[in-house]
Symmetry: C2
Subunit: 216 residues, 2 copies
């Protein structure tokens, strides 16, 4: 939950009571979620102040409610006025039918029809992950990529290659020179090397030439 | 993995050897993934036949490779010709720097900047889940919702309400009748009740009336 910015956990008659000494280690440092957890006597009590209630379940038999996937649920939750609750059932039994009946919407993770075996933690993380996508706190990672070298430096490198190769007999036969040069140019343009990378390549070429890197 | 249709797992020098008797119970029935798992001596061997290699890591210091999130990676993988490999590190240590260096792209899950603690299983399921979205095998759940009742049946129900309420003194004072009727109509139109639900409502009204449900 906290990985994706969710902090408000509500527990209904937890089997092993609450606080539960096993919960701390399992939370891997997300102590704030445990500290703020509230315990309720019934699911109805737990969602009493929520305007929107989603029941996570895979059982679709006889469902007469809308069924949404985690991405759709996240979009609805962010768009809808009021508080939303997402109900998760116990690990083995899942949500009881009467708990599903409290909800207006069924939340189901689309899953391999030949093999579906999501556990509670997996269901929670997928729902939390989708919810987090619209939140500021889950910024996409910043890439620190440098831009490609300016064209002039790219041309300098291509010229350096051509100079080196001209001495090596690479451009043969003569009638293929134009095509060969174009092939080489396309190959060297494709990587989008940075100015530093272009300098590195020219250093390699100079080393192969056995002399200092020429200017330009 | 199998929840989202991925079956091809490659292991590099697994700490506890392979096959590992603990893996079966942990796989919750996804035995095919374990049976087909291949073991390699090095990461380079494991990805030798893959055209695209993604390294999952949160370490972004000094990254000079493109960084994508799971959704972007999934889009790239589905669009790109060739095989893609996604590298995951060991639970505690993550990927070694030299393993990250093998990859052309960094894959990072956007996460709460105040608390980031994804474990290996969580990273895998999020990547697999995003990958599965574009696959046929992960169909969005089919809703079996019935359509709203035909307008004629809706009108019949509204008329039934009005008949019942007319006898009850509900429409008072007279100058408010038009607004009151419109409010009631909007309220009864909003749910989009099915034909069966409309019949249920009319059964309720008839019971209140203390007589058989009228026709029409």
């Amino acid at each position: 939950m906290l990985n994706f910015g969710l902090t408000e956990m509500r527990l209904v008659t937890p089997r092993d009571g609450w606080p539960n000494p096993s919960a701390g280690p399992a939370a891997s440092g997300a102590d704030i979620v445990l500290e703020q957890a509230k315990v309720y006597e019934s699911v109805a009590d737990a969602v009493a102040d929520c305007e929107h209630v989603y029941a996570t379940t895979v059982r679709k038999r006889g469902v007469t409610k809308p069924v949404v996937d985690p991405a759709q649920a996240a979009a609805e939750i962010h768009a809808a006025p009021g508080r939303s609750a997402i109900l998760f059932g116990a690990e083995r039994s899942g949500l009881a039918t009467e708990d599903v009946n409290l909800a207006r919407t069924i939340l189901t993770v689309p899953i391999n029809p030949q093999f579906g075996s999501l556990n509670l933690a997996q269901a929670v993380i997928l729902v939390a992950y989708e919810w987090s996508k619209a939140k500021d706190l889950a910024q996409p990672p910043r890439t620190e990529l440098l831009p490609p070298a300016p064209q002039e430096e790219l041309e300098g490198m291509i010229g350096h290659f051509e100079l080196l190769l001209a001495d090596s007999g690479y451009y043969y036969p003569p009638e293929r020179v134009a095509v060969t040069r174009l092939t080489l140019r396309n190959l060297l343009t494709k990587p989008g090397w940075t100015a530093q990378e272009v300098r590195t390549v020219r250093g390699v070429l100079s080393a192969i030439q056995g002399k200092k890197q020429p200017k330009g």
